[in-house]
Each structure stands twice: as C-alpha cells, then as structure tokens.
Amino acid sequence: MKGAERIEIDRRYCKGCLLCQYVCEFDVFEPGQERSALDYLMPRVAKIENCRVCGLCETHCPDMVLTVVANTEGKENP
C-alpha cells in the first residue's frame, strides 16, 4: 500500500492555520506545541502510518510549507 516516508513542515514560513489537519481524511496531523519562526503554533505529524499520499494537505497549504515524501520501498517489487 502507498505510504509516506515523512512529511516535512517548513518552520520558517508556517502560519499555523491547521488547514492541513482539517483537510486530512486520515488524522495524520494534530495541533502541536512547537512554534514556527513567525511565532505561530505549528501542526505536528502524529500518525505518519495513516498517510496515503493523496496530497490534499500539500495542495491546501496556503503557505506552501508542506512536503509529503512518498515511501519508495517496495515499488521495485510490488
């Protein structure tokens, strides 16, 4: 099954709107306690194993800070 290796959040530009958490159907994100460089509370990647790499969080991020890196393991031998 398709999965994500990691989800990168650029802490320089994140404004903590949490739209990524809202659009995600699989509860990958949760509100975090860490602050970005702009002093907003950033989301935290809580359940990376749930991610299906649909890319909704990426396309809905208003500050373009999210990068979903898909898991390439097993692609050679499906």
Partner: protein, 279 residues
C-alpha cells in the same frame, strides 16, 4: 517549502503577506502546478493591480508588472500588444477587477484579447479593512454596511460571458485540483479567458459576514455552498436554491484581436505596395 515553491517562488519576498488560512496562497500553488505541468514558465508575463490578490504574482519568479488600482488589464493589453508571443496573465481581486477596473474587464473581453484574467473573489475589500465590495451578498454586515448590505452582488462570470469572453470558469479554493486543470486550459486557450476563484478570507469575510474567523470554518463554508456542475444550463437552478454553481461554463473559438490587428497591418501594407506607395 515544497518542491514547487523551491522552484518558482521569489525567496527574498517570503513569507507571504497573506493572513493565516488565506486562500490566495492556494491559488499561487494551483497556478504554479499548472505552469509546471505545461512547462511555460519562460513565456509568462503577469500584471496585477492593488489588493491582497494582486500580491499573488509578486511571489512568483516570472516577469511581473504591478500597476495602479484596477488598471492591471490595460497594462496587460500593452504587454500583449508589444510581445504577442508571451502568455499574459492578470491577477486581480473582486474590488480591483469588478469595481474600479470593471470597464477594462468588459472591453478586454469584448475585443477577445488573448490573455487570462484570474479574479479572486473574497466578497469584500479585505486589505483596506473590510468595506462592502460589488460582490458582497445582500444582507452582509461589513464595516461600511453595519446594518446589512442592500445592494445586489455582481456576477463576474455573467459579465464576462455577456461581454464576449471566449473561456469562462468559476472554481473555489476548496477545489484546488480542478482549479489547476482550469488554469492549464486557460493558459492554452487562444482568446480572453476569465477564471473566477472564490477564496476564503477568514479575517474580514469570515469574522464579519460568515460569523467565524477560523480558516477551517471558511473552507467548509465554500465546500458546503459551492456546487460543481458540468452542464451550464443547470446554473440557474442551483442559484435559485441559494448555492453557488462552480465549474467550466464556456469555451468557444473566436478571432483573436492582436492577430486580427497584425493581419490588417499586413493587408494595408500589401495594398499600399501594390499602389506603388513607399509604406
């Protein structure tokens, strides 16, 4: 920063000046995705006026002209006239494009000049503090209509169709993938393409008109109120239900203005030469 941003954004201008949860950033991303898919980055030239949405092209690393309030389309016409090979894109807001620059829109559409006009509609003058705009709904409470707005809102898509635009679409920021597809169509279309994007503005529209300043609430409002339809004949039916129809409305072929001008120039030159003139 995601790979698209790394490739096409002006790093020295970041972070975006948009408020947290603003839809304008999503439009930047959808547009960059369309440009990346088509590979037309070197052919682009953009113009913008004044307003939140006029900042959209400023962050993209293409040729950008930022003009006066409402005068983005005349600047774009000049660009297109001097460099017909460029793909000219105008980013404008509902106040910029429908109120102050309303007539420019009508006349550019009437001539069918080959350009793409993206109107970002957030239903309010957001940058100046939340005054009533021509697209604000009836009954909305804003800073300048504290007891409710009495004016009927303007429909940009209908104006564009009536003025003679050859491609008209409307989407919202809750439809980012469809928006990317429409941007691709509009960039490839020969003629005047008009794309209206309904965008959430949590700070002004959300707090004063819809009742919540949360970006999630505002995105959900767009999802609940926009109905995607394939057949444009159903638009009236959906509007009668109080919802906003979205989708691709119109795509037709008509003679393009700048090509006609060049053809006429050629014809006049040939006629003059045939008569033995020195032109």
């Amino acid at each position: 920063m995601n790979p698209l941003g790394e490739k096409y954004l002006r790093k020295s201008f970041l972070p975006f000046l948009f408020c947290p949860g603003c839809g304008d950033g999503m439009i930047v991303q959808s547009f960059l995705q369309a440009v990346d898919d088509l590979g037309v980055a070197d052919d682009l030239a953009m113009a913008a006026g004044i307003g939140c949405s006029a900042w959209i092209p400023v962050y993209m690393h293409f040729d950008v002209f930022k003009g006066l309030h409402g005068r983005a389309i005349p600047a774009a016409i000049g660009l297109k006239a001097s460099r017909p090979s460029r793909k000219v894109v105008v980013f404008t807001g509902d106040g910029d494009g429908l109120a102050i620059g309303g007539l420019h829109l009508i006349h550019a559409a009437r001539r069918n000049i080959d350009m793409t006009v993206v109107i970002v509609n957030n239903q309010i003058y957001a940058m100046t503090g939340g005054q009533v705009a021509p697209s604000t709904g009836v009954g909305s409470r804003t800073q300048t209509t504290p007891y409710g707005n009495l004016e009927k809102p303007l429909d940009g898509c209908k104006i564009a169709i009536a003025s003679g635009a050859t491609m008209v679409s409307r989407w919202s920021t809750a439809h980012t993938r469809q928006l990317t597809r429409t941007f691709k169509k509009a960039l490839n279309h020969k003629g005047f393409s008009f794309v209206e994007v309904l965008s959430q503005c949590p700070v002004q529209t959300g707090r004063y008109i819809l009742g919540s300043g949360s970006p999630q609430f505002n995105l959900q409002w767009l999802k609940d109120n926009c109905v995607a339809v394939k057949d444009p004949s159903q638009w009236g039916e959906i509007e009668a239900q109080g919802k906003i129809p979205v989708g691709d409305i119109l795509q037709i072929e008509k003679p393009e203005f700048m090509e006609e001008v060049q053809r006429m120039n050629q014809k006049v030159k040939e006629e003059a030469q045939a008569k033995g003139g020195d032109r």
